[in-house]
Amino acid sequence: MIDEPLYPIAVLIDELKNEDIQLRLNSIRRLSTIARALGEERTRKELIPFLSENNDDDDEVLLAMAEELGVFIPYVGGVEYANVLLPPLETLCTVEETCVRDKAVESLCRIGAQMREQDLVESFIPLVKRLAAGEWFTARVSSCGLFHIAYPSAPEALKTELRAIYSQLCQDDMPMVRRSAATNLGKFAATVEAPHLKVDIMSMFDDLTQYDQDSVRLLAVEGCAALGKLLEPQDCVAHILPVMVNFSQDKSWRVRYMVANQLFELCEAVGPEPTRLDLVPAYVRLLRDNEAEVRIAAAGKVTKFCRILNPELAIQHILPCVKELSTDSSQYVRSALASVIMGMAPALGKDATIDQLLPIFLSLLKDEFPDVRLNIISKLDQVNQVIGIDLLSQSLLPAIVELAEDRHWRVRLAIIEYIPLLASQLGVGFFDDKLGALCMQWLKDKVYSIRDAAANNVKRLAEEFGPDWAMQHIVPQVLDMINNPHYLYRMTILHAISLLASVMGSDVTCSKLLPVVINASKDRVPNIKFNVAKVLQSLIPIVDQSVLEKTIRPCLVELSEDPDVDVRFFASQALQSIDHVIMSS
């Protein structure tokens, strides 16, 4: 029998095979503890083989195991024994659940990166070769992600073989394997020597780009940018650029969509001249694509693209498209544009922004679709840096007011979130005139989430403009509303008060806020009363001890004798915290 102090660890070990998956998971997550209890040698000789056989468990357990084994080198006795970890991970590389395989590959990479060169050649590379020749596609899929670890330490002959194997994987029967080869090509290419890169890797790349299956081709697009960065600019222009330009006119919108997302990355690799000659026209085509999804992707990259180009090119070629997109028939295109267009301002400079971009901002601010307007408003600080807010402010106000009164509460919620940002950009004067009333109005919204957000907003405004301003522009209005006939609105005000108290400081709290709260404790609705108790509890750290004893405690004592059980409960909770504070002081 096991000694008593070993009980927990013994249980942990036994539960590696428990019926209950939660217990097995728990044990697997504590694998390092088990390993330390067994010692390095027994971990190598018993625990690891045991895990290798434990390969038909549930996915969650396998996933946890794959993750744990990735950091297991210290527990098997250090780097010189790292190869004992390979067999269980090799099995996990073959399971059919993708997330388990991915994790196993990740862990193998992590271990491989630490292994000694000789061990890599003796055990890691053979593992990669076994997986690449696996009977089931799952093993071959996994192998693709390991080449970049195996390749650098391989002797010359083996390197040639590995390249040949990868080329085979690029032509595998199974589209899943080709996809994995396409996805990992960039990583592998980064480890391959320049001469082979130009020949072997480029021919694999060409194979992948010519597949009939969209899903393979669109992953090859991702490889374009990665490969482009590895090649010399002239090679990139010669090999990658034509492929990318071709892809930008591919029959499949999904491929064009990928190009729209990746194109700007290639610009850096090919240099300014080819960019101007080939990539800008390609990008312009994508901005005018027939398929809305492609235009969405292209529109979303407008700012990144413009930053790479010089301003004249951007103004000459991109800006006209942006103008078209701002009136696109798809609201999602306009929305994608609106979320990035403000960032173009710095790239174009002040004059172009005022002449050309500003009208677009203004038309997007009037868009019928609220998301578009919101996206513009959310990035207001960027345009402020370039042209100042004055030019926009007149158009801004109607847009904000309209959003503030939108019939969808999620839209109202979104605009509330931006009010502090707007306040900081627009300044106190503008805010007082136009937006102050709105902020109060939201406190009386029909939807709880809006009232809740409005209360938070009031607090953030007080932080932004300072207690003195708040004392004048917020506190009186908020306190006024405590007399609202509906108890739910009164509750919002209580919530706002507790939030404001922390910003306003002790004096204002005691003189202005506290009396209102105390008064509310006589409300006829129990919900208000126990919320009073909660608010009072939250005020404890803010006010000083005399107020605590003279005002808050008597009120709470009264509430703790209330007929309602909830009121009594929260009152006694609050009283306990008072006692706690007084005891510790």
Partner: protein, 514 residues
């Protein structure tokens, strides 16, 4: 028929009509036995290799069968195929396993009962020796993995298993004897492990008294596990699911929409076809069936209740509301009647293996379409023309809305579909073939068959369009026996590589070979 003598010369003439023989029956009814509603088979599907067969029933169960005759120790299948004589053996299957795929449910939001009946089964890519399939009822698609699992018998535990059930038990049971460490362990598993946190030092050689559990038994059992559930994406009843050749995606179609899924992502799908009109009163046409092209991952076809088939290209746009090709038969002038539209509704479509042809089944015919020819069907076969005068009765008892499936042989030379009285028909569709066989789903498939030579009414001698009519009246009806509309053979499947058909008659699965 000189071409029949030599295999090499086969292309010269049409293939000989097949001589169908009974092979097996599963779930045969004894005389007078009542069929339980839940046992009625509602889906049949062979996997890609033909080594497995799955059936689904109205009770939400999926039953798997596996082939028994392929495991030849000496010869590989390829060797056998190379031999000059035909293989004498025909596919034989045995029961493999079954599992409950769907349960009856109730949608509380819509006050709607969702029955458990399996509408369709589709096999997915095999991996690691495990079988994968998709099954669907009206609303929910499920992804199943069926695998041999070792039955674990654990021995050599550290603790007496009778005393310990979980972490919680230990703490409490050992409290009395050893209060100190156990108090530190509390009762929860988390804390018991924290006790051995990083600051605890184990002796460098480990603790020799600890043992790993030993798993003994090597017995295996088949286990079906539901891996993913694709739910809440269909407002209407799902009529089809179909895997894509890219191995990554599949579609599901209901009356008005087709959704595209990634097999690995169950919480989102993309709507690719939506035929729902803004105003439901303008609805004139619904989707009845949809299938991916067998090799081109971007193409799919769907059929409609108006008798048309649309081919769409996923590459063209994200929303494929406009088709790239439309196949429909021009209406013959003057033939219109009350039933025209009802019987034109296509109940099933299937791509041929090469993807060039599409087979469709409407109430009275099966039609073969060449996807390169959208002027009309390449061939039409009458399934039960003798019912035409009875359409009125069939309408009255709702039989006219029965949804018959159709299938093609692996070589694309023949097609088959079901009819009433548990009959099914096999037609040769190779140019010049006159094959039109009627078989009955029973142990003696040709019992009721009348050997009336079929008269091919060839409108053109060229291969472009051949209209043939099969044996028009089965003997039973000619003899005055009334047709049995309750015994209908809706579901059948052709083995992908051999001439073998599996078909469902109520709760029984009949297999035939030729």
């Amino acid at each position: 028929m000189s071409g029949g003598d030599e295999v090499v010369a086969a292309p010269v003439g049409p293939p000989q009509p097949l001589d169908w023989k009974f092979s097996q029956v599963f779930g045969e009814r004894t005389a007078g036995e009542e069929v339980q509603e839940v046992d009625i088979i509602s889906a049949i599907e062979f996997d890609k290799t033909g080594d497995h067969l799955a059936t689904g029933d109205r009770g939400g169960r999926v039953v798997l069968f596996e082939r028994t005759d392929t495991k030849d120790p000496g010869l590989s299948r390829r060797d056998l195929e190379r031999m000059d004589y035909p293989i004498s053996r025909h596919p034989e299957f045995r029961y493999k396993t079954e599992f409950q795929s769907h349960e009856p449910e109730f949608d509380y939001l819509k006050s709607l009962e969702i029955e458990e009946k399996i509408n369709k089964i589709r096999w997915c890519q095999t991996a690691n020796g495990a079988l994968f399939l998709l099954s669907t009822n009206d609303k929910t698609i499920k992804f199943w993995k069926v695998q041999e699992k070792k039955v674990k018998k654990i021995s050599d535990m550290n603790l007496d298993p009778s005393k310990t059930v979980g972490n919680g038990c230990i703490a409490s049971s050992s409290n009395s004897s050893c209060p100190k460490p156990c108090l530190a362990n509390g009762g929860s598993s988390d804390r018991s492990c924290n006790y051995f946190g990083n600051d605890f030092s184990f002796p460098p050689g480990g603790l020799p008294s600890l043992r790993l559990p030993v798993v003994t038994s090597q017995e295996t059992s088949l286990v079906a596990r539901c891996r993913r559930v694709y739910a809440h994406a269909h407002d209407y009843h799902i009529n089809s699911i179909s895997n894509n050749s890219d191995g990554e995606t599949f579609i599901s179609a209901d009356d008005l929409r087709i959704n595209l899924w990634n097999l690995e992502i169950s919480n989102q799908s993309f709507n690719i076809v939506d035929v729902k009109p803004a105003n439901m009163e303008d609805l004139t046409e619904v989707i009845t069936s949809a299938e991916f092209h067998p090799t081109h991952c971007n193409m799919l076809a769907y059929s409609s209740s108006k008798g048309s088939i649309r081919l769409i290209d996923l590459r063209r746009s994200a929303l494929c509301d406009s088709h790239s090709k439309l196949f429909e038969e021009p209406e013959a002038p003057g033939s219109r009647s009350f039933f025209t539209e009802i019987i034109a509704s296509i109940s099933d479509i299937k791509f041929a293996k090469d993807g060039r042809y599409i087979l469709s089944r409407d109430y009275m015919t099966i039609k073969l379409w060449d996807i390169n020819m959208d002027s009309g069907p390449f061939a039409t076969f009458q399934v039960h023309e003798y019912l035409r005068p009875k359409l009125c009765d069939l309408y009255e008892n709702d039989s006219i809305f029965d949804k018959f499936e159709c299938c093609l042989s692996g070589d694309g030379l023949r097609v088959a579909t079901g009819s009433y009285s548990n009959l099914f028909r096999v037609f040769g569709c190779a140019p010049g073939s006159t094959e039109a066989t009627t078989l009955e789903a029973s142990k003696n498939p040709i019992r009721r068959q009348v050997q009336t030579p079929s008269r091919p009414s060839r409108s053109l001698s060229s291969i472009t369009r051949v209209v043939r009519r099969g044996a028009e009246t089965p003997g039973v009806d000619a003899n005055g026996n009334s047709l049995d509309f309750t015994t209908k053979l809706l579901h059948l499947a052709w083995h992908p590589a051999e001439n073998s058909i599996a078909c469902a008659a109520a709760n029984s699965l009949y297999m035939y070979y030729a």
